[in-house]
C-alpha cells in the first residue's frame, strides 16, 4: 500500500506546481529511473504506479538483421511484432537477440518485452541484471528465481552456495585452485611457456584480486548501473594488453587460437577451473534443469550479454540445440562486441537478430531533435496524469491534443499553466530541444542521457535549491550551452532572466532587434524578479531592455559583431585583408579583439564546464590572461603584503587552479570556482583577456575594475591567494623553524625582528639591541654595512667566514622592507611596543637558533624581492642560519685581548680639547727633546681622534661591561670587543699610556698630564 511520504522528503512547499510538490523522492526516482526495468517493475511497488512503464515507454522500432549479403535495407520491425515472436506453444528453445550501441534502447525494449510477457502472458521471467556476473547468477539469481516461481529449492544450489562461501572465506585457496587447474586446462589445448614459481605466484595474486572484486560485486546493489559497465571477467583485454600484467602472458604463441583472443582463453579456463572444482553445474546445465520444471515457457532475459561471455559458447549451444524437451525463451541484449559469440551459422538460422539502429548509424531512430520533446513529455506529464489533470484527445486534424483539466483536478485548481505547456511544465519544447542539441554531444544524444538531464534539473527545481530550471546547476555542469546568446546588459543585470531567455525563448524580431521570446507564465510561476504578475502590470520593461507583454517575455539577443552600434575596442583588422563586402561608412571597423571575442563568445559557458579541455584552449588562454592581470594588480604585483616588495614570482604559472581541475592546487594556487562568477563577468573577463593578448592599448586592470566593477570579488580572491602564500611559506609549521620551535610560538615576525637586530648589531656592534635602537636605525636612511672597524677585525677569519657576514648584510634592505610591512606604524616608525614585546619574549639568538635548514628549504625560492639571490626569502633565512652557526662556531669563544675596564679607566673623563691644548704646549716647549715614538704617537692621536671617537669607545666599553652570559650577549660582546680592539683610539692608548710608579695604570689623561709635567 502506498503511504503518505514524510513531510521532509516532499518537494518545496513554495514550488509552483502542486503535482511536483506532492512527489516524494522515492516516487521521483522511480519515475526517472535510468534503469528501464525498474520502471517496468512499477506493479511490484504496491500498485503505486502500475501504468508508469506504459505511460513513459516510447514504442521502439528495430531493424531485423539479415545475414543475406544480397538483401536490401534491413526491415524495420515494431516492438509488438518482436513480442509476437514468442510463441507460447513452441517446442524448442527460442532466442531473440537485440543488438545496438550503448543507450540506443536495448534495455528499454528488453523491459518492454519482459513487462508484456510477464503481465499479459503470465510467463515466469528470469531477469539477469546488467551488473550481474556468472557467480551471482549461478549462486543467487537462478536459484532465487526457481524458488520464487516454484516454492522449492534448487538441488544444485547447495554446491553453489558452498562455492560462494568458499570465495569469501578462503579466497587464497580458491585463487590457487583457479590458477593451477586453469593452467592445466589451457595446457590441454595450447602450448604454454614454463612458468617459474615467481610468475605463478604473480598470477595467483592477480586472480586473488579478481576474486575479491567478484565477491564485492555480489554485495553491491544494481539499481544505478551504467550501461557502459561490463560483466565480470577474470582477465580483461586491458589486463592482458596493458603491459602491467606481463605474468599473464603464458602462451608460447602470440595468437594461440584463431577464433579467440588470449585473454578470452584465460578467462574461460579460469572460470571452468573454478566451477569444476566446486562441482557446480555450468549455466546451461542449470537452465536446462530449471526450465524443465515449468509448464509455461520461462523467459530468460540477459540485458547485457557480456555477463555470460565466458559461458557463451555452451550457452549458445544450449539455446540453439534442436531438442524438443527444451522450453526456454531467451532475450539477449548486448553490444555487437559481445553478441558475436551467438552468431554462428546455426544460431543465425534459429535466432532472431534485431538492431536498434541502422547499421553504421549512431542515431537512435526514435529520438531526434524534432522528437526529443515528445520523448520527454510523458515523463513530465505522468505525475499530473494521476488525478486526471492531464488527458489527451486525438483528432485526425490536430493529432494528439491536451484537453482542459477537469473541474476539481489539481491543474484546474492551480491554474498556472496553459495547455500550451501544462504537460511539459516546468519545461517547454524549446528547452528540451536545446538540451538535445547542442546540450548533449552528438554521440551522447540518447534517451537515457536526455532523461537524466531533465530529471537532474527537475530534482533541483522540486527539492531545491533552484527555483528557475534554467538556473539549474545540472545545466551549468552537465550540458553544453545553447547557441542563444543574450545581450551583455541582461547578463550583467539579471543572469536569471538571461538564462530564462536562452533556454525557454524562441527567436523573435521586434523593431529591428533580435529577441528570445519566452512564455511569461513561466517567469511568473518561477517568481523571476522583474517580471510582475499579470494583474499588476500587463506590459513594460524589466531590466536591460528585457520587455514583457501579456503573454511573453522578450530577452534581447547578443548583438552581432557586424551590427551597428557595437562597441569598438581595439586593433583594427589588417587593412590588407580585403573584404568582398562594400564599405559601409556607418559601420565601425572590426577589431581583432572584437573578432576573437565574437568567435569564442559561445564557447565561454562550455569552457566554464570543462576549463581544462584542449577543445577550449584559446578561450582558456584569453580568460587566464584577463584573470592573471587582475590578480597581479590586486595583489600589488603578487606581493605577500600590500606595500612590501616581497612577492611570489608567478611568471608563466597560474596563481589559481580551477575547482573542476583534476590536479590538486599547488601551494601558490588558490582554487577558482568558475561557478562563482556570473556569465556576464566571464564575458567581460574574456574580452579583457583578449585585449591583454592582442590589443594595441589594452585596458589596465585598474581601468577594468573601474569600468566593470567586480573589485570586491577579485580583491577577496587576491586576499585568499595571499593568505595561502603566507600560510604556506611564512606561517606554516613546515617552514623556517624546527618543529619544537613552532610549539613554542616562534613566529615569522620573531624571525624578522631577530634578523633585523643582528643586522643592526653588525652595522654597529656598540649599539644596544632594544626596540628603541631598532626603531632609531629604521628611521635612518643610510644603507646597512658591516661596521668598518668590525670589518677590519673580521680579517682574522678565512674568506668563507667573512663572506657569511657580508652575505647577511646584503639582505638588509629586504629585511627592513619586511619589518616595515609587518611592524611599521608609519613609513619611518616601528610599532616599538610590539618590537619590544618580541625582544622580551625571545632574544634574537634564541629565535635564530631555532631555524632549521630543512624547513628553510621548504620556502619556495620564488618568494622573493627580485631575481638576485639575496632577495629571496629562503636565502635570507639561510644566510641567517649560516651566520648563526658561524657565531656559535667561530666567534663566541674567540679570545679578544682587550679590557673594557681599562679602557673606561683611561678614557672615561678625557676631553680632546684638553688633550689638544697639552699637546700644543708639549710641542712648543720641548719640541725635539721629545722621543720620536712618543711624539709620533701624540701627533697621530691628536690629529686622528676626535671627541666623538672617545665617546664611542667609552660607550662601547660601557656596553661590553653590561653584557651577561646568555649566548646572545656573549656573541654581541665578542663583536663589540672585536670593534674595540681594532679601534684606533685603543692603539694610541697603549702607546701613550705610561705606567705609574706603583705599577698601576692611571687614567689616560692624568698620565698624559704627568708626561707633560715631566717635560716641563
Amino acid at each position: 500500500m502506498s503511504t503518505e511520504p514524510p513531510l521532509d522528503v516532499i518537494g518545496s512547499e513554495d514550488g509552483p506546481c502542486p503535482h511536483l510538490r506532492a512527489l516524494d523522492k522515492r516516487r521521483f526516482n522511480r519515475l526517472f529511473s535510468r534503469v528501464a526495468a525498474l520502471r517496468a517493475s512499477g506493479t511490484d511497488d504496491g500498485g503505486e504506479y502500475p501504468d508508469i512503464f506504459e505511460y513513459t515507454h516510447h514504442p521502439i522500432t528495430v531493424f531485423e538483421e539479415s545475414f543475406d549479403e544480397d538483401s536490401a535495407d534491413p526491415r524495420p520491425v515494431q516492438e509488438d511484432e518482436v513480442l509476437d515472436e514468442f510463441d507460447p506453444d513452441a517446442l524448442k528453445n527460442f532466442t531473440v537477440v537485440i543488438e545496438g550501441p550503448v543507450g540506443t534502447g536495448k534495455s528499454e525494449l528488453c523491459a518492454y518485452l519482459t513487462h508484456k510477457l510477464r503481465t499479459d502472458r503470465d510467463r515466469p521471467v528470469l531477469r539477469v541484471d546488467k551488473d550481474s556476473d556468472l557467480l551471482t547468477m549461478l549462486t543467487a539469481t537462478v536459484p532465487e528465481f526457481y524458488k520464487r516461481e516454484t516454492g522449492e529449492s534448487l538441488e544444485a544450489s547447495g554446491n553453489l552456495e558452498d562455492l560462494a562461501n568458499e570465495l569469501e572465506s578462503n579466497p587464497e585457496i580458491a585463487a590457487g585452485v583457479v590458477v593451477s587447474n586453469g593452467l592445466k586446462l589451457l595446457e590441454a589445448d595450447y602450448a604454454l611457456i614454463e612458468l617459474d614459481k615467481h610468475q605463478k605466484n604473480e598470477v595467483e595474486d592477480f586472480i586473488l584480486g579478481k576474486l575479491n572484486e567478484l565477491v564485492e560485486r555480489r554485495h553491491r546493489g544494481s539499481d544505478d548501473v551504467e550501461d557502459e559497465r561490463e560483466g565480470f571477467r577474470f582477465v580483461t583485454k586491458q589486463d592482458y594488453t596493458s603491459g602491467h600484467e606481463d605474468h599473464l602472458r603464458v602462451f608460447e604463441e602470440v595468437d594461440p587460437d584463431p577464433d579467440k583472443e588470449p585473454y578470452e582463453l584465460l578467462n574461460d579456463k579460469f572460470w571452468s577451473a573454478l566451477l569444476d572444482n566446486y562441482d557446480s553445474p555450468p549455466l546451461n546445465s542449470l537452465l536446462k534443469q530449471v526450465g524443465q520444471s515449468f509448464d509455461t515457457r520461462p523467459v530468460c532475459v540477459f540485458e547485457d550479454f557480456s555477463i555470460a561471455a565466458v559461458q557463451a559458447e555452451k550457452l549458445r549451444n544450449y539455446m540453439e540445440r534442436d531438442n524438443d524437451g527444451d522450453n526456454w525463451d531467451f532475450i539477449v541484449a548486448g553490444t555487437t562486441d559481445y553478441t558475436r559469440e551467438l552468431k554462428r551459422q546455426t544460431s543465425q538460422d534459429r535466432f532472431k537478430f534485431y538492431q536498434t539502429n541502422r547499421p553504421g548509424s549512431k542515431q537512435v531512430k526514435f529520438l531526434t531533435e524534432d522528437s526529443a520533446a515528445d520523448f520527454v513529455r510523458p515523463y513530465l506529464a505522468y505525475p499530473k496524469s494521476r488525478d486526471g489533470s492531464i488527458r489527451y484527445q486525438t483528432s485526425e486534424d490536430e493529432g494528439k491534443e491536451l484537453v482542459d483539466p477537469p473541474e476539481g483536478s489539481v491543474c484546474s485548481e492551480c491554474g498556472v499553466c496553459s495547455n500550451d505547456f501544462r504537460d511539459f511544465f516546468p519545461f517547454n519544447e524549446a528547452f528540451i530541444e536545446r538540451i538535445y542539441n547542442p546540450g548533449l554531444d552528438e554521440d551522447d544524444r540518447r534517451p537515457r542521457s536526455i532523461v537524466t538531464i531533465v530529471s537532474d534539473i527537475l530534482e533541483e527545481f522540486t527539492y531545491g535549491p533552484t527555483s528557475v530550471p534554467s538556473d539549474a546547476q545540472a545545466l551549468q555542469n552537465e550540458v553544453n550551452s545553447p547557441k542563444t546568446l543574450v545581450a551583455d546588459d541582461v547578463l550583467e543585470q539579471s543572469e536569471t532572466l538571461a538564462r530564462f531567455g536562452q533556454w525557454y525563448g524562441r527567436e523573435f524580431e521586434r523593431e529591428g532587434r533580435k529577441y528570445y521570446r519566452a512564455p511569461r507564465a513561466f517567469a511568473e510561476a518561477f517568481g523571476i524578479q522583474g517580471i510582475p504578475k499579470l494583474n499588476e502590470s500587463s506590459e513594460g520593461e524589466a531590466v536591460a531592455g528585457v520587455r514583457y507583454d501579456e503573454t511573453s517575455v522578450y530577452v534581447p539577443a547578443a548583438e552581432d559583431v557586424t551590427s551597428p552600434g557595437r562597441r569598438h575596442v581595439e586593433t583594427e583588422v589588417d587593412e590588407d585583408n580585403e573584404s568582398d563586402e562594400p564599405d559601409d561608412p556607418e559601420r565601425e571597423p572590426v577589431s581583432v579583439v572584437d573578432e576573437i571575442y565574437e568567435e569564442h563568445l559561445h564557447k565561454i559557458e562550455d569552457w566554464r564546464k570543462d576549463p581544462g579541455s584542449d577543445e577550449y584552449a584559446e578561450t582558456r588562454k584569453h580568460m587566464e590572461s584577463g584573470i592573471k592581470s587582475l590578480f597581479k594588480f590586486l595583489t600589488d604585483e603578487y606581493s605577500l603584503w600590500t606595500g612590501t616588495g616581497l612577492n611570489y614570482y608567478v611568471g608563466k604559472k597560474r596563481p589559481f587552479v580551477y575547482r573542476k581541475s583534476s590536479t590538486a592546487p599547488e601551494p601558490y594556487q588558490v582554487v577558482l570556482d568558475l561557478n562563482e562568477l556570473h556569465a556576464s563577468t566571464l564575458r567581460k573577463l574574456f574580452r579583457f583577456g583578449i585585449e591583454q593578448d592582442w590589443g594595441t592599448s589594452p585596458r589596465s586592470a585598474r581601468e577594468f575594475l573601474q569600468q566593470e566593477g567586480h573589485a570586491t570579488h577579485f580583491a577577496g580572491l587576491a586576499d585568499e591567494w595571499r593568505s595561502k602564500l603566507v600560510s604556506e611559506f611564512v606561517s606554516s609549521d613546515e617552514v623556517l623553524y624546527r618543529k619544537a620551535a613552532q610549539n613554542r610560538d616562534f613566529e615569522f615576525d620573531d624571525f624578522v625582528v631577530a634578523t633585523y637586530a643582528w643586522l643592526v648589531m653588525l652595522d654597529n656592534p656598540w649599539k644596544e639591541i632594544s626596540a628603541e635602537t631598532l626603531n632609531d636605525r629604521y628611521q635612518e636612511s643610510a644603507d646597512f654595512e658591516i661596521d668598518a672597524t668590525l670589518k677590519r677585525a673580521l680579517d682574522r677569519y678565512p674568506d668563507d667566514t667573512r663572506q657569511r657576514f657580508s652575505d647577511t648584510i646584503e639582505t638588509a634592505e629586504y629585511v627592513e622592507n619586511i619589518l616595515g610591512s609587518r611592524l611599521g606604524v608609519t613609513r619611518n616608525a616601528l610599532d616599538v611596543p610590539a618590537v619590544r614585546q618580541r625582544l622580551n619574549r625571545h632574544s634574537p639568538y634564541e629565535v635564530l637558533d631555532e631555524l632549521a635548514k630543512t624547513h628553510i628549504d621548504n620556502i619556495d625560492s620564488r618568494v622573493r624581492f627580485s631575481t638576485t639571490d639575496g632577495s629571496k626569502l629562503r636565502e635570507i633565512a639561510l644566510r641567517m642560519y649560516n651566520l648563526k652557526r658561524t657565531m656559535d662556531d667561530d666567534v663566541v669563544d674567540q679570545y679578544v685581548d682587550v679590557d673594557e675596564q681599562r679602557v673606561l679607566g683611561k678614557l672615561r673623563e678625557v676631553s680632546m680639547s684638553d688633550v689638544s691644548d697639552i699637546h700644543s704646549t708639549l710641542i712648543q716647549s720641548y719640541g725635539d727633546d721629545l722621543s720620536t715614538d712618543l711624539r709620533e704617537a701624540l701627533d697621530g692621536f691628536v690629529s686622528t681622534v676626535d671627541q666623538d671617537d672617545l665617546d664611542d669607545v667609552v660607550s662601547g666599553s660601557h656596553l661590553i661591561e653590561t653584557f651577561g652570559d646568555s649566548q646572545q650577549e656573549r656573541i654581541h660582546r665578542r663583536l663589540a670587543e672585536f670593534k674595540l680592539t681594532e679601534h684606533n683610539v685603543i692603539g694610541y692608548l697603549d702607546e701613550v699610556v705610561v705606567e705609574d710608579d706603583g705599577g698601576q695604570e692611571d687614567l689616560f689623561a692624568p698620565t698624559f698630564l704627568e708626561v707633560s709635567r715631566y717635560y716641563e
Binding site: P465, Q706, A715
Partner: protein, 284 residues
C-alpha cells in the same frame, strides 16, 4: 568648545591602536607615551585626538583609556576595530536627525555599499562629492565649529579611507587605489556577537547559533555599521561576497529557519551550502 571632526583630526590612522594600547598600559601624558612608543609628539597628539573622538580615550588630568566595549572574545586588532565601530554606530542612529558628529566614518561606508562602489581612488573628488551628497540626503551635517558644514573633499576622503582601512572596511590595492572589501572575518565577528545577543532557534536542532538575516542587518545598524538589504530584499553585493566567502569557509551557513522571507545574495552566485529559501545565518 566644539568637538573636532574625525576626518580632519586623523590623517594617519595607524598610530591609533599603538597609542591606545600605550595609554591602556598607564601612560597618561604625551611624554610618557613618547617614551613608550617612540612616536613623534605630533603623531601622538593626533592619535589622542582621534581616540577621544571615537570615545576610547578620556582626559581629566591625564589621558586614560576607556575600556573597550567589545573585548575578551577577539584578538587585539579585532577588538579595537569593533570597539571604534560600535562607539561610532551608537552616535549614528539619529533620532530627529540628531547625528553624532563623527558619523562620517559609518555613513561614508554606507554610501559605498548602497552605491555598490567596489573600487575607488582615495583622492577622487567625484567619490568625495558623492559621499557628500549622500550625507546631505541623510540630513547629516557635521559642523566645522564656525557655523558651516564640513563638506567632504579629497583630503577628507583620504583620511576617511585610511581610517576605514584600519577598521577593516576597505582594502588598499596599490598606492591610492582601494577596493571596498570588508574583512569577512570582521563581519563574522559581528555575526557571533549578534547571535550571542539575539540567537534564534537553529534549524534541524543544530548546535550552532542562528540569526535571521533581516534581524542581523537591523542589529548591525544599531551596533556597528549602517547596512541595509537592497530594494529587492537581498544582501548588497559587497557584503554578499563576504557572506559567500564565509559560507565557503564553513564559518557560516545561510539556512532557512523560521518563517521569515528568503533573502538572496545580490549578484553573487548561491553558495553550495545555502538553503534555497535561506533567511538566516547559522554561525559556526
Amino acid at each position: 568648545m566644539t568637538e573636532g571632526y574625525i576626518l580632519n583630526a586623523v590623517q594617519t590612522a595607524t598610530p591609533l591602536s599603538v597609542v591606545y594600547r600605550s595609554v591602556q598600559r598607564g601612560n597618561g601624558t604625551v611624554a610618557e607615551i613618547e617614551d613608550d612608543t617612540c612616536l613623534s609628539e605630533k603623531q601622538i597628539s593626533d592619535a589622542l585626538s582621534g581616540l577621544r573622538l571615537v570615545r576610547l580615550v578620556e582626559k581629566v588630568d591625564r589621558y586614560c583609556a576607556v575600556d573597550l566595549p567589545v573585548s575578551d572574545r577577539f584578538d587585539d586588532r579585532r577588538e579595537f576595530q569593533l570597539s571604534i565601530l560600535h562607539n561610532l554606530a551608537l552616535e549614528a542612529c539619529p533620532a530627529s536627525d540628531d547625528w553624532g558628529k563623527q558619523s562620517a566614518i559609518i555613513v561614508n561606508f554606507e554610501h559605498l555599499i548602497e552605491s555598490n562602489t567596489q573600487f575607488f581612488n582615495r583622492t577622487d573628488q567625484a567619490v568625495a562629492d558623492d559621499m557628500d551628497t549622500f550625507q546631505r540626503e541623510l540630513n547629516y551635517h557635521p559642523d566645522d565649529g564656525q557655523g558651516d558644514r564640513n563638506d567632504m573633499n579629497s583630503d577628507k576622503l583620504t583620511n576617511w579611507t585610511r581610517t576605514a582601512d584600519l577598521l577593516g572596511l576597505v582594502r588598499q590595492v596599490q598606492g591610492t587605489d582601494y577596493a571596498t572589501a570588508p574583512d569577512p572575518w570582521l563581519l563574522h565577528s559581528t555575526m557571533r556577537l549578534a547571535t550571542e545577543e539575539l540567537s534564534d532557534p537553529s534549524p534541524d536542532n543544530s548546535e550552532h547559533p542562528c540569526i535571521e538575516i533581516q534581524e542581523y542587518f537591523e542589529w548591525m545598524r544599531e551596533n556597528f555599521l549602517r547596512i541595509s538589504l537592497t530594494d529587492d530584499g537581498e544582501v548588497p553585493e559587497v557584503l554578499a561576497r563576504s557572506f559567500e566567502f564565509l559560507s565557503r569557509s564553513d564559518a557560516i551557513r545561510l539556512v532557512e529557519a523560521g518563517d521569515a522571507g528568503a533573502v538572496g545574495l545580490s549578484n553573487v552566485p548561491t553558495p553550495r551550502t545555502m538553503d534555497s529559501a535561506a533567511n538566516s545565518i547559522e554561525v559556526r
